[in-house]
Symmetry: C2
Subunit: 353 residues, 2 copies
């Protein structure tokens, strides 16, 4: 099931879990040193290996040739986090294999020859890992992957060498954020060797109280241990965040209610909406859902909205290029329609009860 | 009918019309020079004269003894503009006679011994003048009022001497305001000898694009001419404002729609609302009503809300003193309930159609 339609465990705090495995082919230079011919050869090998003799796989996955796609289509895939920003940039033999339910994608000729990623809703690192590992295994039986006893999987960047794994979650931390405790929380996580980034990866600032949290280590520790470490840290973080929300609500009830209800009021009324404002208001709405101030929408509704309203996604849905003003207008309309539909369904089902 | 429930002529631009007549008693010093005994005597004389032998008047008017009222009750009357801020301040023998429909009030021992004011909805200066004059005539037949052939009615401040009249309107000018033309408009009006003030009188700034516009002259010109001058200037101003709104809407349609719909969204959702924010949002809502973007409420609904949400009115309705935070909470609740009621009535009547 598409991760953002599902509502996984602890979804009040953890929006999604992602595991990425980096693999490389023996006998080829790393992608940044390959020529066009080598890159094409590598891509073909990987795609053939992946789609070999299994009708189920052919039905569930599509090959995406990023070279021949428009920039907007590439960016729309990046906004959904199905491919990285790097892969979305114009490059030779950039390919991806994407599952139709958008939970698994295999990037080809990104920083490494192969990057497999698996997304799950909520806190579900084990399932994300199992699923990524199955796909890696599928390739491993056919392809000659760079691996050595001493270091494990070899990667273009030494920080990934070993497991080649990065396990991460997208966490929503408005309680710690509004309570003024986010800085100390982030510093604490960094001391424990976890990486914390904003919504849009490496160098981005946090928007809408969303943080990507991941393991830093890849060498000298097993995948299972890495995931267990991350998972048990997250259990604590989830508790801290929930307590922070309750505390905030106890101490500033009218202010929090006002914040949440205004967010709902504006999202259902506005005719112009920037991505940045939408993210902030949707963050407030998520907080309202978890405090049970808002019942007509749930966390996965917000996920679905967020997956739809990026600049490229808006243009892709509409099927044409748009100016920033037009996009802001269309984004406001999309949000209204999605929230309105939910409210209508809600009142329909109430009538039926 | 209470002016703010009615919807008078040109009510898309002119919210209300007011005529005030100043009169003084012969044989008494002006109020600021009276002692307590004189002030009481004057007040008694005026009240007796007003209520003499006419059961209808007794049914329609009440005497308000401001000295014995709480400060909040006095301020609530001032917020409704039934009495002036000066009269609401603690002073000896401050009295008022107020019609139950809140259209006429007679202030006693304000700057002058007698100040009669009549309010009408929309642009309706003639009716406001007629009504104020009837009340003045009622007093004139009994009381010995200061008047001389040469100067007309004598008043405490020479700027009122002559007719003792101030005719004014409350105009809503968002088109000129948002279009950046309000400064030149105000300067033009001042050159023509009209006074322009903010929402709250003499030294106040405009809030919510509301302006009090009145005659400056009182001497050497008849009441009828003053009112005709003001009225014909206002007809032009109304046209300018309407054109400015249409132009604004044509040129910035998405921005104006966004502004109006957000105002509605916030007013129907917020849990905390300051007077100042409410005035700005209600101004946007008025603009939306006149551009037919909002149909579920009309201008007199906004009048009614504005007459209800001042700090003192909020406390009077609730029957107790409140902190600013509590008032902001109560104000938000009052606005939501008034707008929600209108929407419900609207959908009820639609169902009934």
């Amino acid at each position: 099931m598409t991760w953002y339609i599902d509502q996984g465990p602890e979804s009040d705090v953890i929006i999604s879990s992602r595991v990425r495995l980096a693999r490389n082919l023996n006998g080829f230079p790393f992608p940044h040193r390959m020529d066009n011919k080598q890159a094409k050869e590598a891509a073909d090998l990987i795609i053939q290996a992946f789609f070999r003799e299994e009708p189920e796989i052919k039905r569930q996955y599509v090959i995406v040739d990023l070279e021949t796609m428009s920039q907007e289509d590439r960016l729309a895939l990046a906004e959904k986090r199905l491919i990285s920003d790097d892969l979305a940039e114009n490059g030779l033999n950039h390919r991806a294999i994407i599952s139709l339910d958008e939970s698994v994608s295999i990037m080809i000729n990104e920083e490494d020859h192969i990057r497999i990623q698996s997304m799950q809703s909520g806190l579900n690192l084990h399932e994300a890992f199992d699923s990524a590992l199955r796909m890696a295994g599928r390739l491993d039986t056919i392809l000659d992957l760079s691996h050595c006893e001493r270091y494990g999987y070899l990667t273009a960047c030494p920080t990934n060498t070993g497991t080649g794994m990065r396990a991460s979650v997208m966490a929503h931390l408005p309680g710690l954020g509004l309570g003024g405790r986010i800085k100390s929380t982030v510093e604490g996580l960094q001391k424990l060797n976890f990486a914390v980034r904003g919504r849009y990866g490496e160098h981005s600032k946090s928007q809408g109280n969303l943080f990507q949290i991941s393991n830093q280590l890849t060498l000298g520790i097993s995948e299972a241990d890495l995931i267990n470490d991350l998972q048990s840290m997250l259990q604590q973080l989830i508790e801290q965040e929930r307590q922070a929300r309750q505390e905030l609500y106890r101490q500033q009830r009218p202010i929090i209610e006002d914040r949440v209800m205004r967010a709902y009021g504006i999202l259902t009324a506005a005719r112009l909406m920037s991505t940045q404002e939408a993210e902030q208001l949707l963050s407030d709405l998520r907080l309202g859902i978890s405090l049970e101030l808002i019942c007509s929408v749930n966390h996965s509704d917000i996920n679905r909205i967020e997956a739809t309203i990026g600049p490229a996604s808006i243009q892709k849905t509409k099927g044409r290029l748009m100016s920033p003003d037009e996009r802001d207008q269309e984004r406001a309309a999309v949000i209204r329609s999605l929230l309105d539909k939910k409210t209508k369904n809600k009142s329909d089902s109430q009538t039926a009860d």
